[in-house]
Amino acid sequence: MHESAKTKPSATPALPRPSGLSGFAADWASDQRTFKNVSWGKAMMWIFLLSDTFIFGCFLLAYMTARMSTTVPWPNPSEVFALNIGGQEVPLILIAIMTFVLISSSGTMAMAVNFGYRRDRRKTAALMLLTALFGATFVGMQAFEWTKLISEGVRPWENPWGAAQFGSTFFMITGFHGTHVTFGVIFLIIIARKVWRGDFDQERRGFFTSRKGNYEIVEITGLYWHFVDLVWVFIFAFFYLW
């Protein structure tokens, strides 16, 4: 029935609009699209991330409340999160590496987006896979950290050093973040496969949605990935540096 299949901005120039503040208002309120040049998928991702920010915000506020109102001592992060390397306790070393890995993955992701818009299938897919690899490494190291803490006696309901809320908030929040990373990795792999196969050049239809995709999905995945990265910075600051 309807042939054209674009949900992304068309090339038709928009109507000339007034300048200044009234132009701003007219732009926002104007017909069809509030955010010009923003596709549906991208708008959806931004709004989802806003909602997700509130989830992480609530988690972190709950953690701060617990930490500030506890009457027993809070475990000292630089001792708890230290690794014994060559007989020496190195504070925060694992977490520093993890953070470095995750931030690097944001870099490779940004490059993937760039090559995506140049329609360079191979490089885009390779960089996305590299990003996924970094992400998986991060999750792996997190699993290692959990194992270490668990073997030292940290449980969601207790730990050897002080307030029980330490273990509960730690597992809950890093776990929730780790789940986000894991979903991101899965998503990256799926999209990388599609890029590699050339789905977006051949306008192949999605298995579930039966819509034609395009390279913008790489950028949308990137938005999610950067967000997860940014959240990590906050978790890092509040858990490990406080």
Partner: protein, 592 residues
């Protein structure tokens, strides 16, 4: 003739977004069951919400039977009573009202009223419904597990919600409730993102934000709020689930239960209350704003007059939405939080009354000297104004700390919130169903049954809840299974309770008539035609009724005017559809 100044929205700009491609179902299953068409999803949402809502209705009868005739119905013991209260409250607020307004009316009306073919991501939209259904089933499963559903009250306050003294507290009941809420939130998010993006990015040519019907403004703002408020409930549910199954102590202080010291310690029950009400108060407006929007359109259409102060109405909706995020602790005046907070939250609460009052004035001014047709939707709209004003006024009492403290946790509160967020939105829902049923099915609902339904429901609901104010002022506490002979429960209150119960059963019976009408009119209702109310908005201008998959046939509609061109002086008819070109500058749009 009204001459309007030329502005950029006079002309219809070229398409910025091309037509979309629809998913075309290939089988019966993908057409009617796993459908991606927003209209089918809307009907699925609505029928599910109404079904579970009936359960909540039956529970309210059982509660009323107990309160009216204490000790008479032996199968209602104290535990059951609490379980009934909890399930009744939670179902009504979330699984009925939220789901019906946003999942039901949102899905049906957003694409149609905006001139879109469908939601922007139909597949996610479909998943949203199936997750909602799953959430409802998990919730209902609570009735069948050993120990029954949770009896913690719809607010689920810890520590009591997860202690063994509370029905369903240490068994499946509370777990199922929390899991169901989590599922609901995930499902809602999928739908909610769709509604928001469709409103922002998927409108027809010429449909500027300031030409959207107020229905859409209400649903849109409510959805944005829901996307920002549900996270707090999500987090609270997850943490409570961990307290229960993992033995963490997020919300659990050191506590002795039945003589044994529990393992918990150091948690903060107040933290839960903050999280819950950071969701809970916006939730009130998540239910109210769509009702505000819909009722504005009902009043304008059935009074054949443009809505008074359209821009003011839009801004009032947006401001109410924003303010409602900073009033949550007015539910916590007696929680033991810092009294200075009380001052802040009382102030913000009273400020919200200003835009709300503006809306009420504008509805009344729209009616003023209008050509009022007392159709059933109009009757319900009027019923809404009356009950909403009543509930709003008692809200002013409860918003003030010193007045609230003695009234808190009495039947006065029950009367207040039933008026303002129980009866009032339900009135709008009924009005909206009578209004849009002809579009959905092609037939009118039966008029006589409708009138009986309205008068019994409206008067009956008033007679149920108005006397509760009095009981509350006497001091009758809420959430009490039985008061016996006491100073707060004198013999006159017994009689009143019997009366309220009889009214509740009568109102319940009227709903059965309504359901019968819904089914009966499907076949025997009067043929409605495409636009029985002679309304301006786009959903009434579809090429066929009920609208087909894709809504508009070959050509997408183009919008030339706002949604309220009723009784324009000089126009040949008393309404001008939004998609009618405007060469003569015949419109009230810029006059308002």
């Amino acid at each position: 003739m009204v001459n309007i100044p030329s502005s950029i929205d006079d002309t219809v700009p070229a398409a910025e977004v091309e037509d979309v491609e629809l998913y075309h179902p290939h089988s019966w299953w993908t057409t009617y069951v796993f459908s991606q068409d927003a209209k089918v999803i809307a009907i699925q949402y609505s029928l599910t919400a109404i079904s579970i809502g009936l359960v909540a209705l039956v529970l309210s009868w059982l509660m009323r039977l107990q309160l009216g005739f204490p000790g008479y119905f032996t199968f209602i013991d104290a535990d059951r009573y609490y379980q009934f209260i909890t399930m009744h409250g939670m179902i009504m607020v979330i699984y009925l009202l939220t789901a019906l307004f946003l999942g039901g009316f949102g899905n049906y009306l957003i694409p149609l009223m905006l001139g879109a073919r469908d939601m922007v991501f139909p597949y996610a939209n479909m998943l949203s419904y199936w997750l909602y259904l799953l959430a409802v089933l998990v919730l209902a499963a609570g009735f069948f597990v050993p120990g029954g559903p949770t009896g913690a009250g719809w607010t689920l306050y810890p520590p009591q919600a997860i202690l063994s003294g509370t029905p369903g507290g240490q068994s499946g009941g509370i777990i199922l409730m929390l899991v169901s809420l989590i599922l609901f939130i995930i499902g809602f998010t999928m739908g909610g993102l769709n509604y928001v993006v469709t409103v922002l990015q998927g409108r027809a040519r010429g449909m500027t934000l300031m030409r959207m019907p107020l229905t859409i403004w209400g649903i849109f703002t409510a959805t944005v709020m829901a996307l920002l408020a549900f996270p707090a409930l999500f987090v609270a549910s997850v943490m409570m689930l961990f307290d229960l199954v993992l033995g963490t102590s997020f919300f659990m202080p050191a506590i002795v239960e039945m003589g044994t010291q529990l393992q918990h310690g150091g948690g903060s029950p107040i933290l839960f209350q903050h999280l819950f009400w950071f969701f809970g108060h916006p939730e009130v407006y998540i239910v109210a704003l769509p009702a505000f929007g819909i009722v504005s359109d009902l009043i304008s259409t059935h009074a054949r007059k443009n809505i008074f102060g359209y821009r003011m109405m839009v801004w009032a909706i947006v401001i109410i939405g924003a303010l409602s995020f900073i009033v949550w602790a007015h539910h916590m005046y007696v929680s033991g939080m810092n009294p200075n907070f009380g001052f802040f939250f009382a102030t913000t609460t009273l400020i919200i009354a200003v835009p709300t009052a503006i809306k009420v004035y504008n509805w009344v001014l729209t009616l003023w000297r209008g050509d009022i047709h007392l159709t059933i939707p109009m009757l319900f709209a009027l019923g809404f104004i009356v009950t909403f004003v009543n509930g709003g006024l008692t809200g002013l009492f409860l918003g003030n700390v010193v007045v609230d403290v003695p009234l808190s946790d009495t039947m006065f509160v029950v009367a207040h919130f039933h008026m303002v967020m129980g009866v009032a939105p339900i009135m709008v829902i009924f009005g909206a169903i009578y209004h849009w049923y002809p579009k959905i099915t092609g037939r009118m609902l039966d008029e006589i049954m409708g009138r009986i339904h309205f008068w019994v429901t409206f008067l009956g609901a008033y007679l149920i809840f108005f006397p509760m104010h009095y009981l509350g002022l006497l001091g009758a506490p809420r959430r009490y299974y039985e008061l016996g002979e006491s100073a707060v429960n004198p013999p006159s209150a017994h009689d009143l309770n019997v009366f309220i119960t009889l009214m509740a059963l009568t109102v319940g019976a009227a709903q059965m008539l309504f359901l019968f009408n819904l089914v009966w009119s499907l076949r025997h209702g009067k043929e409605a035609g495409g636009n029985p109310w002679r309304a301006t908005t786009l959903e009434w201008q579809t090429p066929t009724t009920p609208p087909p998959h894709g809504n508009w046939g070959k050509e997408l509609p183009v919008v030339y005017r706002w949604a309220y061109d009723y009784s324009v002086p000089g126009a040949p008819q008393d309404f001008i559809p939004q998609n009618q070109p405007n060469p003569d500058r015949l419109s009230m749009e810029n006059a308002s």
